[in-house]
Symmetry: C2
Subunit: 190 residues, 2 copies
DNA sequence: CCACTAACGCAAACAGTTAGCTTTTATTGG
DNA sequence: CCAATAAAAGCTAACTGTTTGCGTTAGTGG
């Protein structure tokens, strides 16, 4: 979903893509992320290495594609009946997922093999969608809600920054996420 | 400065490190980032490839080391006589440097070949140092200054998030940096 | 000044990558 | 529905980057 024109999405191409993605996920749990190679994935997927090289370019771009799939939220955020509760719960959940070693690995992979930034943009879009849902609900209730951009700047960005640039910092608990949301909602204006 | 114990920092080891780093910088301008390979760098540096593989592991970790060096600020932030002016000027400068294509490439490299997060932490520390200097000056003047952590969360993190996750977004100008600082200083409390 | 050992050079074996060509198979138009 | 077309995959061989064992060099500490 990043480099290939995908001009022929049906039939065999689709099957190959699915089997290759499946092979990556399987092998990742069996032999570990670092032991993955293109020939290994190709063998498991039942294709030749050159097929993978031609469609994805290299292992990093393939891993980036798979990582983005894994970072896609599968459920809409929970509705707890209020903006503060919804946002806090979502932020805590987001932080817990992303700051785990698995989550961090996926974020790294997504950023890594992403020359044009398409996959990174997709990750950001996922978070924005979830937030949008929460804010729309709040507006429907008549609550005064901030803009999505503000939530991203004040809640998502600080968490991501700490995950990426300050590993080992132990302040990455639910309390931190809650404080970010609280601080955001305390100043309705700018 | 990331993986090697550097138990023997003097003499030959230091010379090799310098010539390898210099070779990377030279070749980067000559043939471009994407054309760099370990054997190429080794030849330019006058060492054998195995030396690089043993000390750095792979090309990514080497590039990460070099990138961190380039991201180190060479000057302390300018003193304009006031906290708001100092922070705004610094944030604008920071954003301009980091959002350039060269800056983004260095950030990516620094994050990329960094298994334990040491280099990423170093980047974060550089920014924190600069901010610390500005805040200390403000305190010396008797101005009320926020904590470094707050500046990182409210100013640095949002800029970095947009650089990494939202490429192509056109709101990465000086005005954005200024607004972040303004918003931060508008709420002295939390 | 000598013993010790980390780090480097060298070279061969290994593994991942690239490229040319052939074959298969969606797709498109008659 | 069938033929023509071209995209995508298979195959294989050449290529290039990576790993590893061993001998040598040169800092380090006694």
């Amino acid at each position: 979903m990043s480099r290939k024109p995908m001009v022929r999405p049906g039939g065999r191409s689709a099957r190959v893509q699915q089997s290759v993605h499946a092979a990556v996920r399987e092998l990742e749990t069996e032999v570990g992320r670092d032991a993955l190679t293109v020939p290994l994935v190709a063998a498991r997927a039942g294709v030749t290495p050159s097929t993978i090289y031609r469609r994805w370019g290299d292992l990093q771009e393939l891993m980036s594609d798979v990582a983005v799939e894994r970072l896609r939220p599968e459920l809409p955020p929970e509705d707890l009946g209020g903006l503060a509760a919804d946002l806090t719960a979502w932020a805590e959940h987001f932080l817990e997922e992303m700051s785990s070693s698995a989550g961090r690995a996926y974020i790294r992979d997504a950023l890594l093999g992403d020359p044009d930034g398409t996959n990174a943009g997709q990750c950001s879009a996922y978070a924005a969608e979830q937030i949008e849902t929460i804010l729309s609900r709040a507006a429907a209730r008549g609550e005064q809600a901030p803009a999505v951009e503000r939530v991203v700047d004040r809640v998502v960005a600080p968490m991501m920054y700490r995950i990426l640039f300050r590993p080992g910092t132990e302040t990455l608990d639910a309390g931190y996420a809650a404080r970010l949301v609280e601080s955001l909602l305390a100043t309705p204006g700018s």
